[in-house]
């Protein structure tokens, strides 16, 4: 049992007493510790995101390029002091994990090397060991009504429920990863399809034009000779 981890929340709760009665929507929002985003990055632009971190936490970033010619992007991760931790060029996916200091970490996706193609990038942030912002389980005790009458100890049931919940979260995470991979493969296939159509049409046009030119040129050669004779 993580004693400080349980008691700090309670003391803070007492300090923020009145606020505790407000529904969460009114009192501002607390983002979850895992988040993923899919962004579009137009050609020639660089976009940066910032993540505040406490000391001795773990920040893990995973990114994948889903669409856009070449499927590659430059990635840059900098510490709160501005020191470059990771700098990757023209990569199509990557995973990076850092042990953090306190401050705002900046990570950037750079599409300046591309002149016409817009990239679609999927990235995921996983934050670990966030300190006093964590709680081992949601403290729903104050919202429930009634008690449960059971043969088993409630704690054992809650433990297996927690285990189920974390396994389901893991399934959800795996689904997100699969979705990103599939989206990328699908985009590759759709661009293949368009390319096959386009170049087939071009091929047909070129063949017809070339054969017509050949016939016309041969004919014109002979017509000139005829004129010269007479």
């Amino acid at each position: 049992m993580d004693e400080p981890g349980v008691w700090i929340p309670f003391s803070l709760l007492l300090a923020a007493g009145p606020l505790a009665l407000l529904p969460p929507a009114v009192s501002g929002f607390s983002p979850s510790l895992d988040s993923d985003f899919t962004i579009t990055l137009p050609a020639g632009l660089k976009e940066c995101f910032y993540q505040p971190m406490p000391l001795k936490a773990t920040l893990e970033i995973e990114y994948q390029v889903l669409d856009g010619a070449g499927l590659d992007i430059d990635f840059h991760l900098a510490s709160p002091e501005g020191k470059t931790i990771v700098f990757e060029q023209r990569k199509s996916d990557g995973v990076h994990s850092v042990e953090t200091e306190a401050g705002d970490y900046m990570f950037c996706f750079d599409n300046t090397f591309s002149t016409i193609s817009e990239k679609v990038i999927f990235f995921e942030l996983i934050l670990d060991n966030m300190g006093e912002q964590e709680q081992e389980q949601e403290d729903w005790k104050k919202y429930v009504t009634g008690t449960d009458m059971l043969d088993m100890k409630l704690e054992d049931i809650l433990e297996s429920i927690n285990s189920i919940k974390s396994r389901l979260s893991k399934s959800g995470h795996i689904q997100t990863m699969l979705r990103a991979f599939e989206a990328r493969d699908r985009n590759i296939q759709e661009s293949n399809f368009d390319r096959v159509n386009f170049w087939s049409m071009v091929n047909l046009g070129v063949m017809v034009v070339v054969s017509a030119i050949q016939v016309y040129m041969l004919k014109s050669l002979f017509e000139d000779k005829r004129k010269n004779r007479t």
Partner: protein, 227 residues
């Protein structure tokens, strides 16, 4: 890869930040900077009948104190959400701090775009706007304290309800995945078929063109009395 999943298991256990006690201190989540006319778009690929809730908070750069002000009245953000067919689902203005919600009716890529609506140019004047953003999808949008109060649930019932919602979301996502995979397979098969037919057609056209050329030229030479 196994180490990554073990870490994720631990991360999933330390899931929710303290909701209320931290409200007064402001949360610490992902943020980015946006210029005055800039528009930032995020894509959410979701199955149908899925609820999405987005929360954002803006801070304006103050040139005098060289810090970001805690909040800026009068400065709002315009949020526009488009469904996979390009139709606008939500297009609304919100204040400097806001929460937008929409539910998808078709599965696919929904695009969420944010840009600031500052009417007074002097507010920005070369500065930047810091936007904190958090987007929750599907089961994560459920407010369990509210559900417990509304349905008068005991703790076990509430936890069972949460597990059921989680499983339902995973099942919905799997169904959507099956539909996407089918589309993907159809595109691949169509591409393969087109490549095959086009190669055959190209060969036939070349042969026919060759034959026509020879015959045409032969009759041309015969007409001109060269052969």
């Amino acid at each position: 890869m196994a180490g990554v999943w073990a870490r994720r298991l631990r991360a999933a256990m330390w899931h929710r930040a303290l909701l209320l006690a931290l409200a007064g201190f402001g949360f610490q989540g992902l943020y980015f900077h946006i210029g005055e006319t800039e528009k930032r778009c995020f894509i959410e690929e979701i199955p149908d009948e899925t609820m999405v809730i987005g929360n954002y908070r803006t801070q304006l750069w103050d040139k005098q104190t060289e810090t970001f002000l805690p909040s800026t009245p009068g400065l709002g953000m315009h949020v526009e959400v488009k469904d996979p067919d390009g139709k606008v689902v939500l297009s609304r203005q919100y204040g400097s701090e806001g929460r937008f919600t929409f539910t998808s009716h078709t599965p696919g890529d929904h695009q969420i775009c944010l840009h600031s609506n500052s009417t007074r140019m002097t507010i920005f004047a070369g500065g930047k706007l810091r936007v904190h953003l958090d987007i929750q999808v599907g089961e994560h949008t459920n407010n369990y304290p509210e559900i417990a109060a509304k349905d008068k649930l005991t703790e076990l019932q509430l936890r069972a309800r949460q597990l059921l919602d989680q499983v339902e979301q995973i099942q919905k996502e799997q169904n959507y995945q099956r539909y996407r995979e089918e589309r993907f397979r159809m595109t691949s098969e169509s591409t393969n078929q087109r490549v095959l037919w086009w190669s055959i057609a190209q060969t036939v056209i070349l042969i026919l063109t060759g034959i026509w050329q020879m015959r045409h030229l032969k009759s041309f030479f015969e007409a001109k009395k060269l052969v």
